[in-house]
């Protein structure tokens, strides 16, 4: 069951759910009290929640939230982290030492704790989650790109490029980072999984997506409250979340083996 094909299938399913959710006519926030805790039926394959809202529709919206949040967070934190790490490592000296110190401070913090603190400070909302998780997320990319550039910058082809008068930007982007694409892909895959869990975790704590909007995390929180009467409320979003995260971690593992990336 735990094959690469399974992982790709789940990830593609998640992405298409997220993208198609915008085009379908969903009613995730329509309250229908007669349907309270109702079991699954044809019009709603997963049943209804404590306010009679269809769980399937809410699950799809949750998929959309997790997809866009992770896309934004990974794009932001990767571009910032990779560039900062690469420039600091290439320049060396003081710039590099300052970056290493900053990275140390960030790593001293349990990531989720910093995200919780930031989300609490900024207040709830999707944009604030994206900001909080990007602040946490860039560190990993910066460390990776610093290590990559340090290991590559003494190579002959970099020296040749410098002799030919290539600019620093060109050397870093074309001659150093382009050679490091494989580890970044692997890191980003694990990163997406981590962001999805963090977003759901923040929403679970009530610091992320706010009611009535759906997120897998807030659906799990609501479901946990009514576990005795309606276990399907906590099972459906949790299963979706765990499957997607499992598939992404599996994919990251396979990619690492396939692309032959040495360090994690």
């Amino acid at each position: 069951m735990l094959s690469g094909r399974f992982a790709v299938f789940i990830v593609v399913l998640w992405m298409s759910m997220a993208l198609l959710a915008s085009t379908w006519d969903l009613s995730p926030n329509v309250i229908n009290l007669p349907k309270m805790f109702a079991a699954p039926e044809w019009s709603s394959l997963l049943g209804y929640d404590d306010l009679g809202r269809p769980l399937m529709d809410r699950l799809l919206i949750g998929a959309r939230v997790s997809f866009w949040v992770s896309l934004w967070v990974i794009s932001l934190s990767m571009s910032i982290g990779v560039l900062l790490g690469a420039f600091a490592a290439y320049a060396g000296g003081l710039a590099d030492q300052v970056l290493v110190r900053i990275i140390d401070v960030f790593l001293a913090f349990p990531g989720i704790l910093l995200a919780i603190a930031l989300a609490a400070v900024l207040g709830p909302g999707v944009e604030n989650i994206v900001f909080a998780l990007s602040v946490v997320g860039w560190v990993g990319f910066a460390r990776l790109s610093r290590a990559q550039v340090l290991s590559l910058k003494r190579r002959d082809h970099v020296l040749a490029a410098r002799v030919l008068g290539a600019s620093r930007w060109r050397i870093i982007t074309r001659h150093l980072l382009l050679l490091s694409v494989a580890p970044f892909i692997v890191e980003a895959t694990f990163g997406v999984a981590a962001v999805i869990v963090s977003e759901a975790g923040l929403s679970f704590l009530g610091l992320g997506v706010q009611p009535p909007d759906a997120s897998w995390g807030s659906m799990i929180r609501d479901g946990a409250r009514y576990m005795l009467v309606a276990p399907h409320m906590v099972l459906a979003p949790g299963l979706a979340l765990a499957l997607v995260v499992l598939a992404l971690n599996l994919l990251g593992d396979r990619l690492r083996d396939y692309l032959d990336v040495k360090h994690s």
Partner: protein, 306 residues
Amino acid sequence: MGVFIFQRVFAALLVIFSVSLLVFLLIHWIPGDPVEVMLGESAKVSDREALRQALGLHLPVWDQGVRYFGALFQGDIGQSLYYHRPVSDLLWERLPATFLLAFAGIVVALCIAIPAGILAAVHQGSGIDRGAMGFSLLGVSMPNFWLGPLLILVFSVQLGWFPVSGYEASGSLVLPALTLGTAMAAVLSRMLRASLLEVLHEDFIRSARAKGLSSFRVILRHALPNAALPVLTLLGLQLGVLLGGAVITETVFSWPGVGQLMIDAIRQRDYPVVQGCILLISSITVLVNMLTDMAYGWLDPRIRHA
């Protein structure tokens, strides 16, 4: 060795100071007025001003910062706006519960990770290996705020073995510890497997086998101590993740620890308490990382002199 210890302690103190500065600045961006939250919207303006004066909230941020750090160096981390008690008292009350949970989580993690890692490494490539690593991947991928409710559903609601939540009842520690320990077990078992696989190809393992030792003894006495070092480091590094996860796990199980105190304080906009909780958890993390570093240097002299 003295210089090595001094360097590590100094670096740790520097990190703790940076963290507390960062937290102080962050907390003071909170939109919303704590005075309004405490007194309610109908409070008189004069009452609000009086409270603001009493708490020092009328001062500029840098002035509050100077006062805060001045007090911090004397071990005073402020008063709770909500409970009207010193933050340090609240933290002291909650700390034992969090330590108990973290310790139990580590025990669970080790009890799962050590056998799983050894079995996977010894039977590399077999069904046992694939099963253990599949389980490990599953453990990493199950967020604790879902695993927790799931365990409650099975072991409390269906089987009735353990209490749903709380702290006092006997057996109430089991489910939170399982929830917290599973993810760590997954990470540790992978590391132990990888580390053991490297050691098992060494010459001294072949010698131990050649002189006729049982494979049990070879693994336990010769391979495991040599493979333990990276696992020990990871255990130290993972403690931060564990304490971060404890915040969520405590919320799931209504476990009266520092994490739950922090989440409640966020809801009450009781920011001295939020500050104190973050400072405490990150200081513990930094100290444990420092001790791990030192233990590593002590166990492996190559690190010290590098």
